[in-house]
C-alpha cells in the first residue's frame, strides 16, 4: 500500500493545466507552492469543476472541499496537500481506490 503523495497530485493537476500555463509563459515544473490558479487567470469556476472531475477520475475518489479553507481552494500547494489528506492514505495505486466517508 503506497499512499498518493501531494507531489503526484501536483504533477497531475499541472499536467491538466499545461496548456493555459504555457500560454502565460509558465513552465508547469517551476510553478511555486503559493501559485494561485484563480488570480493568475489559469482557471475559473467551470475549469475548477473540470479539474475536480479529472482528479476524481484519475484517483478514483469522490472529493469534497467543504473543509478546505476557501482561500486555499485554488492555491496549488495547499490544494494538493488537502487532496492528499482526503485520499492519499487509502490506496495502493492511483487506480482502484475509493475514498471512505465522503458523499
Amino acid at each position: 500500500m503506497s499512499p498518493i503523495a501531494a507531489s503526484e497530485i501536483r504533477t497531475f493537476i499541472l499536467g491538466c493545466l499545461q496548456g493555459p500555463l504555457e500560454a502565460k509563459g509558465l513552465c508547469p515544473s517551476s510553478v511555486p507552492d503559493d501559485f494561485d490558479l484563480s488570480t493568475e487567470g489559469i482557471i475559473d469556476s467551470m475549469g475548477m469543476v473540470e479539474l475536480v472531475v479529472a482528479l476524481e477520475h484519475q484517483f478514483d475518489a469522490r472529493l469534497d472541499f467543504d473543509e478546505l479553507d476557501p482561500e486555499s481552494l485554488t492555491v496549488i500547494g495547499p490544494l494538493c496537500r488537502y487532496i492528499e489528506k482526503r485520499i492519499g492514505t487509502k490506496t495502493s495505486t492511483a487506480q482502484g481506490f475509493r475514498a471512505m466517508g465522503q458523499e
Binding site: 500560454a23 494561485d36 484563480s38 488570480t39 482557471i43 475559473d44 469556476s45 467551470m46 475548477m48 469543476v49 473540470e50 475536480v52 472531475v53 472529493l63 469534497d64 472541499f65 467543504d66 476557501p70 482561500e71 481552494l73 485554488t74 458523499e103
Partner: protein
Amino acid sequence: MARALHSGFIRSAELFPKRPAIEVEGQILAYRELYAKAVSIAATLQDRAPVVEPPFTAVFAYRSITSFVGVLAALFRGHGYVPLNPTFPSDRTRTMLLRSGCSTIVVDRESTKQLDEIFQGITQPMLVVMPDAVEVAEFSRKWPRHTFLGARNLASSGVWQPTTAPPNSIAYLLFTSGSTGIPKGVMVSHSSVTHFVDFMVKRYQITEEDRFSQNFDMTFDLSAFDMFVAWQRGACVCCPSAKNLISPARFIQNSALTVWFSVPSVGLFMKRLGLLKPNRFPSLRWSLFCGEALPADIAQDWVAAAPNSVVENLYGPTELTIACTLYRWDPQRSPAECHFGTVPIGRPYPDMHTIITDDDLKEVSPGQVGELLVTGPQLSLGYWRDAERTAAAFVTPHGKKETYYRTGDRVRSPLKGTDPIVYLGRTDHQVKVRGHRLELGEVEAVLKQQPGVDSAVAIGWPLTTSGAGGVVAFVTGTSVKENVLRNSVGAILPSYAVPREIRILPQLPLNVNGKVDRGALCSMLEAKP
C-alpha cells in the same frame, strides 16, 4: 410615472447617507460618499465635454469602486453608460468603443494598463477620466489627441447641474454576442429599467437592511439588478473580488448576504465541490437565478442550503431588460412541473405579455411548442445603429398591434393561463456558456478570418444542464495549427468563447441537404470526448 434610473439612488443618498452603498474587497462606501464621487465625475464631464453626441459615457472598469462610480456618474451626467470589461481582449473592447461612438470614458486603475492597446486606431478625440490616477502626464504626452484627467483634475461637485433624461433616452448600451462576429449594442431605456426595478423592489420587499451579491460584471445586464434594485431602497451591494468569485460560499457567509443573484452555473459549481450543505447560508432571504437554464437539483439543494430563502428562477434576454418572466420554486409542487430536470421559466411580469408562435409568427395552440415572443414596457429600443437586425428581431406578429421581441427560445405553450412556460432550448445556434450568451456564428466568423481557414463550425460542448461548459470548433483549411488558431482567436474573443479544442478536419460532414451536419460533429465529440 417614468423617471431616471438613478433617481432611486439619489433618494436613498438623502434618506440613508451614512448607510453602506457598496462594499468592494473590504472597502466600504456610504451612500453620501458614493454620491459625492459620482457627482464629482459628472461635474467634470459636464465641464470638460459640455456637448457629447451620442450621449454615452463608457465605463472601462472591473470590480472596483470606480466601476460603480463611473456608472452613476454617466447617468448623473444625463448619459447612457456603456460598460467595457478589461478582461476582454483589447480588440473587442476597441470595437465596442468605436461602435458606440463614445467620446468620453471613465477608467479605473487596473484598466489603465490596457489603454495603449485600446487607443490604437481610435482617431476620435476622447475625454478620458481616470479618478484613480494621480499623474496622467505620461498618457497626455503619448496620446496628445486625447484629454486625460486624473484625480487632481476632477471638478468640484458644486459645479454639477442635475440633468433630466427623457424616459425613453438610453440608460445603458450593452453589447452582446453577434453572429457576424461583431457585437451588437442593445439600447435599454430609463423607463424600461425603472419598470423592472420597481417591480423587483416591491416583490422582494427590499429594505435598507438588505445586502446584495454583485456577481456579475457590468457588461452582463444582470448587474443592473444588483445595483439599482439595491440602491432604490438604501441596501448595500457587495462585490466579490476575483478570488471570492471562485469561493462563493465564503462570500455569502462573510458578507452576510440577504439577496443572492447568480447564474445557475455558480450553484452547479458549489454543488460539485461539496459546498452546498444544508443550512449553510441562513442569512439569505432571496435566492435568485437567471441567465441560463436552472437545473431542478440545484434548486432543491439550494433550498436546503439556504432554508430561510425563497428560490426564484428569472428569465429574460438583454433585449427585454434583465428579466421578464419568473418562477417560484416550490419543493412540493415544482418537481412535477420540471421538464427533463429543468426548472420552468414561469409567467411574465405584470404588464409584460408573451405569445408563442410558429415559424410564420402565428400563435400555436396551448400545449404546443414554439418560439417565445415578448412585449411590454421592458421592451428595449433595439440595436444601436443596426436597423437591419433590429427589424429582424423586433416584429409585429399576425393580428397584433404591438412590437414583440423574438427571443429565439423554444418553449412549450401553457395548457392553462396559470401554468408555467417551460423552456426547451434555442431555435438557433446561440448557446449559454457558463451563463454568457454566445452566438456560435460569432466564433465561426472569427475563425474564418484566420489565415488558412476555409470553413469553421463551433459547437457548445460539453453540454450541461444549464447550457454548455465551453466551445469546441471544427475547421478545414491549409497549414492551420490548433495552437496558432487558439492564440489568434483568444486575442479577439472573450475567454468563455475561445474554443477549448479546435479539431482540424479534411472536410466537414454534410447532411442530405448539403448543409454542415452538426449532429455528426456532436457524435464525433461523444465518441471521443
